[in-house]
């Protein structure tokens, strides 16, 4: 992957060129009946020809709004209230409809976050693709379909002819996104707007889509405006990056410069928030940015980041009219204190304390869960899953969507019953006891934190109510005063002030809701916490805070935790042991050091390789791109489950026979036909790059 290095070297000559897209002092308002929301107060940036510009920021900071303003599509209430958007010298703000039509899809095209909903469900892929050349290039239907087929090949979709006849719902998420990309490229646009193009896709699919975008960009010389909240993706795909905060740019610099020497406290905070794949659990804690992004109506005076900034100085940071100041070559920052703050780069304290090998808290043996979907159709959600979690240990379950992680969680918590197998906890087999049949002490000892806090919190009850109810139900405290006292303690434990008890879920942010859900889960003093993607619905800055909190509490309470996640960097950061699953089966299990160390299963290798790091040297790793999509769990491959996508596949033996389990150590097992010695060989990307 040399995508980053190459365009930067040619940047020097391009710097003087007229920009392809120039946004100047853009102000975007949403004029509702009751109030006017200033989504973007004053934004300026440029995209040069051939360049890839990244726009990063937390949810609600105005990224999508900016993209839609460029497309001239702000909806009924949105207006550009000031400033200009120039594209190839032409003004787009208030441009006549026919001019916009000639630009949209032809000279500027867009790739959307959710490809399924971006495609018309009742029209074939072919019809939807062919529209673009017919509309803009004067092609006949037949010519247009030919061009569509050719483009589908370019986005590496197999069997283009058949694909043209299919409907969107017959494609997987990754395939749909490739179709949307093909659609965008068919008009040969000079600028491509990508609004979170891979959010919601599986990591290995995301990885393939990002590689594809990079490759197509080089082939067609398209400029990119890449919008994302994923710093790793931006770091690898962009030449220059702008950090957006509450509708303003707070820092802008070439990618290496920005991630290597971030100047703005917010940028630094964002970078510190994300776990680094090359650092394990005990290297450092994640640094969270306190607080939340202000609502457009509640922007403070002066520096918008002020209320969340540790470097805030009254009289200095709250003065109006803060500007972007140059701090280096093509590097600007909006912070009055940047020269002083530069030296004070945060050193993060390492996590302390290490426990000895603990006794088993919960043991899974051969857990199998089949769903019968009618005649001769069985969905194999889990098959012969075995592992154990020791007391106060964190075991991470890793894998992409559909691998059976959540089913396992449902069985543990009694929301579902295993078809066969045993789960032993305190000597008892709980695999086949549903929650309704579980005795109170058992219910109390297993608690769950869900991905979406909305599903746990009743919208019509206050946050305090949920916690109190949990306390009452398990009789943890008796009497109103004692219960209220305990509830306040729990709120304090999740760093929320007691006033939050009275709030309803709708009055809480995503991160706050998840904290309430955690407080509620710990209310019953559980010995096992099942956390199913507890932070994946949250913004990066909030994620870090919630994870840190969860880890702290887990440690002080000596609770065991099953941590379900698809984010390997996060897993490396939090887990003691890792179980990697694919299509219902365990591919590999071991301690974190073993999983992220030398020998790994090919699937784990691909997962690790899919992680994008903000560290520039991270880009030099060999990326493994998996082809194809995860097969349906209804008809699983006969031999190795991973055979249809494996990059190290040995041949027909992988298709025919289930792989043997290779014992790499007492704690490390890999299910693969590749012999143990060959698995040990330095295929691991980290190792490879260390050597070079």
């Amino acid at each position: 992957m040399t995508m980053v290095a190459e365009p930067i070297s040619t940047q020097g000559e391009r710097a003087s060129e007229t920009p392809l897209l120039a946004v100047r002092d853009l102000r975007i308002e949403f004029r509702g009946k009751a109030e006017t929301i200033v989504a973007v107060p004053k934004l300026s940036f440029e995209v040069k020809p051939g360049e890839s510009f990244g726009l990063v920021g937390e949810s609600g900071c105005g990224k999508s709004t900016t993209a839609m303003a460029i497309m001239g599509y702000l909806g009924a209430t949105g207006v550009v209230a000031g400033g200009s958007i120039r594209f190839e010298g032409e003004e787009l703000v208030n441009a006549p409809a026919h001019k916009l039509r000639a630009i949209r899809g032809r000279r500027i095209a867009m790739v959307y976050q959710d490809p399924m909903s971006a495609l018309n469900p009742v029209k074939t892929i072919g019809a939807q693709l062919a529209e673009v050349p017919m509309l803009h290039l004067g092609a006949s239907r037949v010519e247009a379909l030919d061009m569509a087929a050719a483009m589908l090949k370019d986005v590496r979709l197999p069997d283009a002819g058949d694909m043209l006849k299919r409907y969107p719902h017959q494609l997987s998420g990754g395939q749909q996104q490739r179709v949307v990309i093909a659609m965008a490229l068919l008009g040969r646009p000079s600028l491509l707007l990508l609004d979170e193009p891979t959010t919601g896709l599986d990591v290995t699919v995301e990885s393939a889509v990002i590689d594809l975008i990079g490759e197509l960009r080089r082939r067609y010389g398209t400029s990119l405006l890449f919008i994302s909240h994923n710093l790793g993706l931006i770091a690898e795909s962009c030449d220059r990056v702008g950090i957006m905060y509450s509708g303003e740019l707070v820092e802008e610099a070439p990618t290496r410069e920005l991630f290597g020497r971030p100047r703005h406290p917010y940028t630094q905070g964002l970078i510190d928030c994300i776990p680094d794949i090359r650092q394990g659990k005990h290297s450092r804690t994640l640094a969270a940015i306190p607080g939340n992004i202000p609502l457009p109506s509640e922007r403070p005076r002066g520096c918008l980041f002020g209320p969340r900034c540790a470097g805030f100085r009254a009289g200095l940071c709250d003065r109006a009219g803060m500007t972007l100041e140059p701090v280096g070559e093509r590097h600007v920052v909006r912070c009055v204190r940047w020269p002083e703050l530069e030296v004070a780069h945060r050193e993060l304290p390492p996590l302390s304390g290490e426990s000895a090998a603990p006794a088993a808290e919960i043991t899974f043996s051969d857990i199998t869960k089949f769903y019968h979907l009618g005649y001769h159709k069985t969905l194999k959600a889990n098959e012969a899953v075995s592992f154990e979690a020791g007391k106060a240990e964190i075991v991470a379950l890793v894998g992409e969507s559909g691998c059976g992680k959540s089913t396992l969680a449902r069985i543990v918590t009694g929301l579902d019953r295993a078809t066969s197998g045993e789960i032993r906890m305190a000597g008892e087999n709980i695999a086949a006891i549903e929650a309704s049949a579980r005795p109170k002490p058992l219910l109390q000892s297993i608690q769950m934190v869900f991905q979406n806090p909305d599903s746990t919190l009743n919208p019509s009850h206050s946050a305090g109510f949920s916690i109190r109810r949990s306390l009452k139900k398990f009789g943890i405290r008796k009497g109103k005063a004692a219960i209220d006292q305990r509830m306040r303690e729990l709120l304090e434990m999740v760093r929320l002030s007691p006033d939050f008890a009275a709030r309803r879920p709708s009055q809480l942010s995503g991160g706050q809701k998840q904290r309430i859900a955690i407080a509620r889960a710990f209310a019953s003093d559980p010995s096992l916490i099942v956390a199913d993607e507890p932070v994946s619905a949250l913004d990066v800055s909030v994620q870090a805070a919630v994870v840190t909190l969860l880890l702290d509490i887990q440690k002080t309470r000596h609770a065991t935790m099953l941590f379900i996640s698809h984010d390997l960097a996060l897993v490396r950061h939090v887990a003691d042991k890792v179980v990697v699953m694919y299509l219902g089966k365990v591919m590999e299990k071991g301690t974190v050091e073993e999983i992220f160390g030398g020998a790994t299963h090919p699937y784990t290798e691909a997962l690790i390789s899919a992680i994008r790091s903000t560290k520039p040297e991270g880009a030099e790793r060999n990326r493994i791109t998996l082809t194809g999509d995860t097969p349906s769990p209804v008809d699983v491959p006969r031999g190795c489950r991973f055979a249809s996508r494996c990059h190290r596949k040995l041949g027909s033996i992988c298709d025919r026979e289930p792989p043997p389990i290779r014992r790499m150590s007492a704690t490390h097992e890999i299910a693969c036909h590749i012999p143990a010695e060959a698995l040990e060989s330095p295929r691991h990307p980290d190792e490879a790059s260390d050597r070079s």
Partner: protein, 337 residues
């Protein structure tokens, strides 16, 4: 597909049996005996008693229902046609054949001679109205759903709501006043014969107009709601940002999606137009199916009521079947899994 059709047919049969039995049972409670109705008010009590015995009208309900079904299926001959009843009822098709709906005591004719004729008349009325309702409601619905709350939406919505809320008899009387009395260009009644000096097509104008005015607004509202939902979908944004004009977006992307949900509603209008247009038929003295059903009900002409019930059920099940097929055609997510 074959299974699907078979299921639908089975359901149709079941509904028919249930509905016909229900009608039979309800008719029990209407005053006056079958014999009395068949003979007319001037017959003597002896004649009535004789006929009652002859027809075995005192048998239990279930037995009589069975006999009626037997006649319909052509297993037994129609007892009313037995010469010994002295009623002189004669069906040119014979007394025993499949599809024998029996004898209409009201019209003193075989039901088959009356009902198909009436159904045909109503089908003409309903068909013409439907042909106008479909395009009108689609145009109104799509245009007003295009921009919710816009000037056009408000204007069209007012028209639709006003029209829908005027009862049929009111608009009927209003139109008659306008085009028959004040400006006599159209006939006030529609007996479908040319004795009054008006051509048949001219007799159809007012009844069709009343039906269209009453019904299209409702369907248009349904389409409007669906259209508003579709216009907010991200794929519409995709189409616009491809550079398509509003017209291209509406015709190429919105229309078909917007018609998926209202399609069933549209087909339900056929059922309504066939059996629910009594008021219009009464206002214009139109010899239609609805009026026949009304007259038969008032008279207690059980054979006609039963026949009408079965036909109505058949139409309802058929439209539903067509609806399902149309659904599949419109929405590939249902057709192809």
């Amino acid at each position: 597909m074959a299974i699907f059709v078979a299921k639908r047919l089975a359901m149709m049969l079941l509904t028919m049996v249930a509905a016909s039995f229900l009608v039979f049972a309800v008719c029990e409670f209407t005053p006056g005996s079958v014999a009395r109705k068949s003979l007319g008010p001037f017959a003597t009590q002896e004649q009535v008693d004789f006929l009652t015995k002859k027809l075995r009208a005192d048998d239990p309900l279930l037995v009589r229902y069975g006999r009626w079904a037997g006649v319909l299926l052509g297993i037994i001959p129609d007892p009313l046609q037995d010469p010994s009843t002295g009623l002189n009822f004669k069906d040119p098709r014979g007394a025993q054949y499949f599809g024998n709906f029996g004898y209409s005591t009201l019209n003193k004719l075989p039901v088959n001679d009356v009902i198909w004729n009436r159904l045909g008349n109503t089908a003409i009325l309903a068909g013409l109205a439907f042909l106008l309702i479909v395009p009108l409601s689609i145009v109104f619905g799509i245009l007003s759903g295009l921009k919710e709350g816009g000037v056009l939406d408000r204007l069209l919505s007012v028209i639709c709501i006003t029209f829908t809320s005027i009862p049929e008899f009111a608009s009927g009387v209003f139109l008659v006043t306008l085009f028959v009395i004040l400006w006599p260009v159209l006939p006030g009644t529609s007996p479908l014969d040319t004795e009054g000096g008006w051509s048949v097509p001219s007799q159809l104008v007012l009844p069709v107009a009343v039906l269209v005015i009453y019904d299209f607004g409702y369907v248009a509202r349904m389409i409007r709601v669906s259209m508003i939902g579709v216009m907010e979908k991200p794929f519409i944004r995709t189409a616009v940002l491809k550079g398509m004009s509003t017209r291209q977006v509406v015709i190429g992307h919105a229309l078909r999606n917007a018609m998926i949900a209202p399609f069933t509603v549209l087909l339900l209008q056929i059922n309504f137009l066939i059996s629910g247009v009594v008021v219009t038929e009464l206002v214009f003295a139109y010899p239609g199916f609805g009026r026949l059903l009304l007259d038969a009900s008032l008279f207690g002409d059980i054979a006609t009521i039963e026949a009408a019930t079965l036909i109505t059920v058949a139409i309802a099940v058929t439209t539903q079947f067509v609806g399902d097929l149309g659904y599949m055609l419109l929405d590939p997510r249902i057709r192809l899994r």
